[in-house]
Amino acid sequence: MTPFDYTRASSPAEASRLGREGATFIAGGTNLLDLMKLEIMTPDRLVDISRLELDGIDRTGDGGLRIGAMVRNSDLAADAIVRKHYPMLAKALLAGASGQLRNKATTGGNLLQRTRCYYFYDTAMPCNKREPGSGCQAIGGVTRLHAIFGASEHCIATHPSDMAVALRALDARVEIEGADGAVRNVGLDEFYRLPGDTPHIESILAPGDLITSVILPPPEEGRQTYRKVRDRASYAFALVSVAGRIRMEGGRIARAGFAFGGVAPRPWRDRDFEATLEGNEPSPALFERAADALVANASTHGDNAFKVPLLKRTAQAVLTELTES
């Protein structure tokens, strides 16, 4: 670990200001501290934002939900409104990490988790995400965890969050307070950037940008779930996960909202998949067609080839679960 200064922010504005000056935010620290010990991240100044009053879960005017960036994962998973109206989110949260980590980890921090790519985690290895321009050692190496969508020749890492996958399927937006004090909000689809030739840039956040909350639209009718597939029963990152919701009307799928985890550098959403489903009567044939559309553009790297059939099977099973009477 490299020496660092530590400051506690007393307001979002102060945090933003310090952030613009180059400080790194720390909230729960469940990921950042590990990365600092391994010197994968070496901030020289930390601003502790965990005491900011951003820990409320409140109804919005239009019936949606505003989740403060400092709400702990365990509190969010236990929230009565979340459990009742956004159950996929509660399920996704509880599928992640361990009880101890969820007690510390925050909503904003969860969104900003770094990848678990083995090569990112070993500083002796070239990694474009850790050290821009050094190369990608994962390509041609061990790729069991790696992406089948959205990767580039510079980086094939996946985003590890479960929570973010559910948020993406729920059309969540991220509220950001900029260093200039301006507040804006963006959809999760815009929030994360694909690696391209700059895999070290993972989101649209600029220095000083502070996530203050996550906003969920009003709950929709219908069924929803989150299904995570992993190598052991708990405390393992998703090989594949599916967050899905479906609203039926007159025996047909009126609306489908799906996101997929463990397969891409960000929670993956595929409009073709949803479009294939919408307006149609549920059937195994339809589900297979949708799943085929989903993986049509998958690109694999040896060890992770199994994710294609696994994703198809899991997506089909989730569709069946959400539509069977």
């Binding site: 010197e39 190496g141 052991r232 029963a233 393992a236 099977r313 099973a317």
Partner: protein, 734 residues
């Protein structure tokens, strides 16, 4: 006065049975348990002397080549840095178990990625770790390095003494009614002890005291002294508490030698703790294995031939090679046999003893093959095994000291509810889940290792047991105390057991499941001597003396121990040695596993729903700690079957999953209710306690019961462990 015994023959008299204190075998708590769970037991890093500096090892980042130069200038100016050390006495890797001499030394030659080549010493651990991270090594990589056993330039050795053949297996295969001819592979494993390796060294003149985390102190002392080039008498090792070993702390390891060198050089105590990543890379791993197994059976399922040929790996020059076929020669009948053993010399973290070397992986493959034979022959797997239990050790023509496999199989089947079972795979469903059951035999060779202990009966009516034996979480404190309490007729609270100090009589150490029985025998012998001395004082014959609750009773006269002692202490040493018994008979422990699994028909995820282990290991000294050992072994069996795998990059051999987030041990949610049944047994050939080792028995074949259950659930036969979901997906019934 030392009472010595050499096990040349069976000892039928069961002295412990004649005792009346009633503590032996009972499920007593560990006397040190409260200290451990309240954080007061001083593990190595909990015991830092004043002014102690911290060292962190620096690793090589090439698989093969030379370390030409270390540029320490930049690091030496960092805050808190005291020294950057490179020394010809630094060890390349830990000593192999019971080596008793220095492992390979020096930092010039690099032979694996992760090899320790330098030590950065600083005021704090964090500063030292940062220095280690920043240190610039100038390494010259070799053009070619074999890092995979299958690499064309990997040198393959086939030591003559490790090959054997009797009869004509090829012919037996041709003439058999049923055959199995398959290759099974298992990946490397890490020991995964909870406490990472750590040593704290301090010198007093030319005398070294090292507080470490080690399993076999008398060997470790010799290894450390030899590594440093000093006399053994100048070295004292303390390891009163060890947070798990599983083989990884059998030999002196690089952090111990480096701490001693640094402490000497700097003139102050130095602590060197490995990070988890260091442990993965610098501590001996279990070799991956490739096992070709051939089984030939007649129409009744009786084996006529067994072939078991293994390929394992290690660094060139390391003596150890995973003894994959250790139990194969004696477990089942069959007159035509081939045992083969080859070693690929490759540049990966060196291999050594990890969690039941040999049987853990060897029996797992053999027991999967047996299941394949059961399927082919249509014979129930329990019945198939019962038909193949030999009357004597088929490889040596010597009798078994005792043989409990049949009883373990039958008891297990009854207890588990094995019958009726749907033998046709893929037919039992519970919603999305496919349900199946499987079983396997367990076996582990039993050993006695030379061991000494001292017992003192003090004039206040208490006893102390002293030995350099270790408790690596296994229950040694409890078990040795129970033997002394039973023999001397004292309540447990009046026996104090002192372990983990090389100033005390040298013990077997903890390893190979032999600790409790070997060192327990030494304690027993010392107690026998004290009993003899008490008889002298009381003027009675040995058979006339009854000791219970601190009183000696002879005929109708009852005297407190304090009165018998009359103000003086009685001390005695016990010394146990292996002898001709191990050549006269085959000694082993046996058991059986039964598992029920659910495999998700969509995703291929496997969950173990229930698991039973039935074990016989002679006299059980403490029913609670013995059961705990079996639970731990079976949990590791779940890991071996489903999740555990050291993953190496095929380009440079480095371990990519070097933490517990990505090296998947089973977590609580992976472990179902496990039942353990311990069979009543006495083995008079083993030692006068009639007890055998149980520590490793619970992992020897456990994984096979799960893999066999997966077959029963799905019809997919996994021959490449672990059975991760990607290996099942394609074959799952729709």
């Amino acid at each position: 006065m030392t009472t010595h015994i050499k096990m040349d023959d069976r000892i039928d008299r069961d002295r412990l049975e004649e005792m009346v204190q009633g503590v032996i075998g009972r499920p007593l708590d560990r006397p040190e348990g409260e200290l451990k769970v309240s954080g007061r037991a001083p593990y190595a890093m909990d015991d830092l002397p004043d002014g102690c500096l911290h060292g962190v090892l620096v690793r090589s980042t090439i698989a093969k080549g030379k370390l030409e130069h270390i540029d320490a200038a930049a690091v030496e100016t960092l805050p808190g840095i005291r020294a950057v050390l490179r020394d010809d006495r630094f060890t390349r890797n830990p000593a192999q178990g019971m080596a008793g001499e220095a492992p390979a030394q020096g930092t010039d030659e690099i032979v694996y990625f992760g090899q320790p080549v330098a030590l950065v010493v600083a005021d704090s651990f964090e500063q030292a770790r940062h220095g280690a991270q920043m240190l610039a090594l100038k390494m010259e990589g070799a053009d070619e390095a074999a890092v995979n056993p299958s690499d064309r330039n990997a040198q393959i050795e086939a030591p003559k003494k490790k090959q054997s053949s009797t009869g004509d297996l090829d012919k037996a295969m041709r003439q058999a009614a049923f055959t199995v001819d398959e290759t099974y592979t298992t990946p490397g494993h890490v020991s995964a002890a909870m406490e990472p390796h750590a040593s704290v060294a301090r010198w007093d003149g030319d005398s070294l005291t090292l507080h470490g985390s080690y399993q076999m102190l008398r060997f470790n002392r010799a290894e450390l002294a030899d590594s440093l080039g000093i006399k053994e008498e100048k070295v004292r090792i303390l390891a009163p508490y060890v947070g798990g070993g599983f083989g990884s702390k059998l030999g002196i390891s690089p952090e111990g030698v480096a701490a001693a060198i640094a402490a000497k050089e700097l003139g102050v105590p130095v602590a060197v703790a490995m990070t988890r990543q260091n442990v993965f890379e610098m501590v001996l791993r279990r070799s991956e294995t490739s096992q070709h197994i051939r089984l030939a059976a007649d129409e009744y399922g009786k084996l006529t031939g067994i072939g078991h040929e293994a390929l394992v790996s290690n660094i060139s020059g390391e003596e150890f090679s995973e003894p994959v076929t250790q139990a194969t020669p004696f477990l089942y009948r069959g007159e035509n046999r081939v045992i083969g053993h080859r070693i690929a010399r490759i540049h990966r973290t060196p291999a050594g003893s990890v969690r039941a070397p040999g049987e853990a992986v060897g029996l797992t493959a053999l027991e999967i093959a047996l299941d394949e034979l059961a399927v082919k022959s249509g014979i129930d797997p329990v019945e198939l095994r019962l038909r193949n239990i030999p009357d004597e050790d088929p490889s040596k023509g010597i009798p078994f000291s005792s043989h409990t496999l049949s009883e373990a199989l039958k008891t297990g089947a009854r207890h588990f509810g094995w019958e009726p079972r749907n033998r046709e795979p893929g037919k039992v469903r519970d919603g999305e889940w496919l349900i199946g059951s499987g079983m396997a035999s367990a076996a582990r060779v039993n050993m006695l290792i030379e061991s000494k202990a001292r017992v003192t009966l003090t004039n206040d009516g208490r006893a102390s047991v002293e030995t350099d034996m270790t408790d690596i979480g296994t229950g040694t404190y409890a078990v040795l105390g129970q033997i002394a309490a039973e023999m001397l007729g004292l309540p447990m609270a009046r026996v104090n057991t002192i372990l983990g100090d090389t100033d005390l009589p040298p013990a077997s150490g903890s390893g190979g499941s032999f600790g409790a029985a070997s060192n327990g025998t030494a304690v027993f012998l010392a107690c026998e001597d004290i009993r003899r001395q008490l008889c002298e004082r009381l003027g009675c014959a040995p058979d006339e003396l009854t000791l219970k609750d601190g009183y000696a009773t002879v005929a109708n006269r009852r005297t407190s121990i304090q009165d018998v002692l009359g103000g003086s202490d009685l001390a005695a040493d016990g010394h146990a040695e292996p002898g001709k018994a191990e050549k006269k008979v085959r000694q082993a422990t046996y058991g059986s596993y039964f598992a029920e699994v659910a495999v998700n028909s969509v995703t291929g995820e496997t969950r173990v729903r229930k698991m039973l282990g039935v074990f016989a290991a002679g006299r059980i000294l403490n029913a609670k700690t013995a059961r705990s050992q079996c639970l731990g072994g079976m949990t590791f069996g779940i890991g071996m079957a489903l999740t555990e795998e050291l993953v190496h990059d095929h380009r440079d051999g480095h371990i990519v999953n070097r933490d517990f987030a990505e090296y998947h041990l089973p977590v609580n949610a992976d472990v179902p209710q496990i039942d353990v049944v311990l069979l009543e047994e006495r083995d008079a050939w083993a030692n006068p306690l009639h007890a055998k080792g149980i520590g490793e028995l619970g992992i020897c074949g456990a994984a096979a019961s799960i893999v066999n259950a997966i077959y029963n659930a799905t019809g997919v036969r996994v021959r490449d462990l672990p059975a991760t979901l990607d290996k099942l997906l394609e074959g799952l019934p729709s």
